[in-house]
């Protein structure tokens, strides 16, 4: 039903309509409203026999989800920031065991220094843990991606993170169409696990694998996750048929056709970026954006298909690898191999600093006028709106 509601409430309602059987989460800002909403729905009895399990930590939350999923239940959890890091060990267990858990990550910076606001450092730090990562541009996408995530996870036996910008999306109130139960039921069949832990028919999962087969296990995990690059567009098409609106897929190009510069970004900044692009287009500036929804597996071919020789590419990143540079940029550099697309990296929006139209305009204008000599060697990492005065006093 279409209504004015908070992003977190839309996600809670949508997850409830996916009929999870176990919800287990530990509250942490800015994820809290999502699990509060779900706990209220579970407590109302509406989702029976769904169980909401209270735990003492994020490590326990994911461990319960792993146990529930291995026992054949559809399991959901949500976290952010330090909470995601606290799950780190269990994240690899969930993916290694092929358990189709869905988790919302309400993206938030990592301390120290403590900071409760948005950036992508949390999910980016865990990009290699074998989970699929989807990033929502707005709250409609955030809600819808959860429905697709359960289908995807259960079809491939791979856990999925749905990443949404903390506060910027989780606490924003806007018009959101929460999918009807009947349509969700049509799109998402009941979970049929490949195998279950059952005392009546004991099996072992996750047993020790030595050097003779460990590489092969990881090879298969990679192949399985890469299948998502074919499966996600199909599920997105089916989503459009059932729900009458497009769900996000691998990438989302915006006015890239004749652009001489394309800004690549993930998450909610794409909205502000689209507004900036429209304004610049009115001034005759040929600029576009490429949103990356599916970050893991990385949609190499879709990125190549969305860009063409001669276009400059700026990766606008809400996280970075200290001592190296952009995280998304590394994947883009591989994707763009052999193409004439000079790539630069801009780090922006760390720890909740707003990314504004004036800053984006300046960034785009400067990037278009900079020399694009690919033989010039590596460029220094650029930090948007860096406060030089503050640094001088540091």
């Amino acid at each position: 039903m279409r209504a004015q509601r908070e992003g977190s409430q839309a996600v809670a309602l949508t997850v409830a309509r996916c009929r999870p059987e176990v919800v287990c989460a530990y509250p942490i800002s800015p994820q809290t409203h999502i699990v509060e909403g779900l706990s209220a729905i579970v407590a109302s009895g509406e989702l029976a026999p769904c169980e909401f399990v209270n735990v003492e930590s994020e490590f326990a939350a994911l461990s319960v989800a792993i146990g529930a999923s291995a026992a054949g239940a559809r399991a959901y959890t949500a976290t952010a920031s330090q909470g995601l890091l606290f799950m780190a060990e269990a994240l690899w267990n969930a993916s290694g065991l092929g358990l189709p858990i869905v988790m919302t990550v309400a993206n938030r910076a990592i301390g120290a220094p403590i900071n409760i606001w948005n950036d992508h450092s949390d999910a980016m730090a865990l990009r290699d843990c074998g989970w699929i990562q989807l990033y929502a541009q707005d709250n409609q996408e955030a809600a819808d991606l959860h429905i697709l995530a359960f289908r995807l996870a259960e079809q491939l036996s791979v856990p999925v993170m749905v990443c949404m910008d903390g506060f910027v999306l989780t606490h924003a109130v806007e018009e959101i169409d929460v999918a009807d139960q009947e349509l969700v039921d049509r799109y998402l069949p009941p979970y049929r696990p490949r195998q279950v832990l059952d005392p009546k028919a004991p099996i072992t999962i996750g047993a020790m694998v030595g050097p003779e087969a460990f590489t092969e296990v990881r090879y298969l995990a990679h192949q399985t996750q890469r299948q998502a690059l074919t499966v996600i567009p199909r599920l997105a098409d089916e989503f459009a048929t059932v729900f009458g609106r497009r769900s996000a897929s691998l990438v989302s190009p915006y006015r890239t056709e004749d652009a001489d510069l394309v800004v690549v970004a993930l998450g909610s900044v794409l909205g502000t970026l689209a507004e900036t692009i429209d304004e610049l287009r009115d001034d005759g500036v040929r600029v576009g954006a490429l949103g990356i929804t599916t970050f893991r597996p990385f949609p190499t071919e879709a990125v190549r298909a969305a860009l063409r020789d001669g276009q400059r590419v700026v990766a606008l990143e809400r996280a970075f690898s200290i001592g190296s540079g952009g995280v998304v940029s590394q994947d883009l550099r591989v994707a763009l191999a052999g193409m004439d697309c000079p790539l630069s990296t801009v780090v922006a929006g760390l720890g909740g600093r707003p990314i504004t139209r004036p800053s984006l305009r300046q960034l785009i204008t400067q990037a278009r006028s900079a020399p694009g000599d690919p033989t010039a060697g590596p460029q220094p990492l650029v930090f948007l709106d860096l406060d030089r005065d503050l640094l001088a006093h540091g």
Binding site: A3, Q4, I116, N118, D138, D165, E174, T272
Partner: protein, 193 residues
């Protein structure tokens, strides 16, 4: 696009006011987006919330930098932070106070804005009368509807009814209508003069 910034203190319902404003605008057939300033809010600490209203879906995610309207729920903030920062030349100013805008040192601002665009309303007193509590946000939404004519008072009442029930709903709706009538009276007086 019409952009609103609401200043108040933790406990005064600043975030709720922005949310209800977006619900009212949505009920009035507009697209709307509301969001808080994402601080670690504490009771009594300065709080900011934003609302955008437009005829098309809203994609912007930056804070409101140049508001078309500023609502000040607590006039003591005028001495503490730049609540008028970025207010557009043809913008609106709504201040919750029992004093006059001149008394608050806002005479210069009132003179700069178009006639009738700056209004003082005793929203806390109205809330005490009708709700029995000094929470001025619902009354200010009624005043905002009269000041800007961007949303109807009925859509404000409908928005309040989505959030409050029983006597709190009735009291807040009555407070909103009382503030609406007050500001309408002030504005018709201003345009007659």
């Amino acid at each position: 696009m019409f952009q609103i910034r609401i200043h108040g203190r933790g406990g005064q319902g600043v975030v709720t006011a922005a949310e209800l404003l977006s619900v009212a605008a949505n009920a009035f057939g507009r697209h709307a987006q509301a969001f808080p300033s994402f601080g670690s809010e504490r009771t009594g600490a300065p709080v900011v919330a934003f609302c955008r209203i437009d005829d098309r879906p809203i994609r912007l995610r930056e804070p409101v930098l140049e508001p078309d309207a500023v609502i000040v729920q607590d006039s003591t903030l005028l001495r503490q932070i730049d609540v008028l920062g970025g207010l557009r030349p043809a913008g609106y100013l709504l201040v919750n106070t029992a004093a006059t805008l001149d008394d608050l040192g806002l005479g210069g601002v009132v003179a700069r804005l178009p006639p009738g665009h700056a209004v003082a309303v005793s929203a806390t007193a109205i809330a005490r009368t009708h709700v029995g509590r000094p929470v001025p946000n619902a009354a200010l939404l009624g005043a905002f509807a009269a000041l800007t004519e961007l949303i109807s008072i009925d859509s404000v009442a409908a928005a309040i009814a989505t959030r409050f029930h029983g006597h709190l709903r009735d009291g807040n709706v009555t407070a909103a209508r009382a503030a609406y009538e007050h500001v309408k009276g002030v504005r018709s007086g201003a345009s007659a003069a």
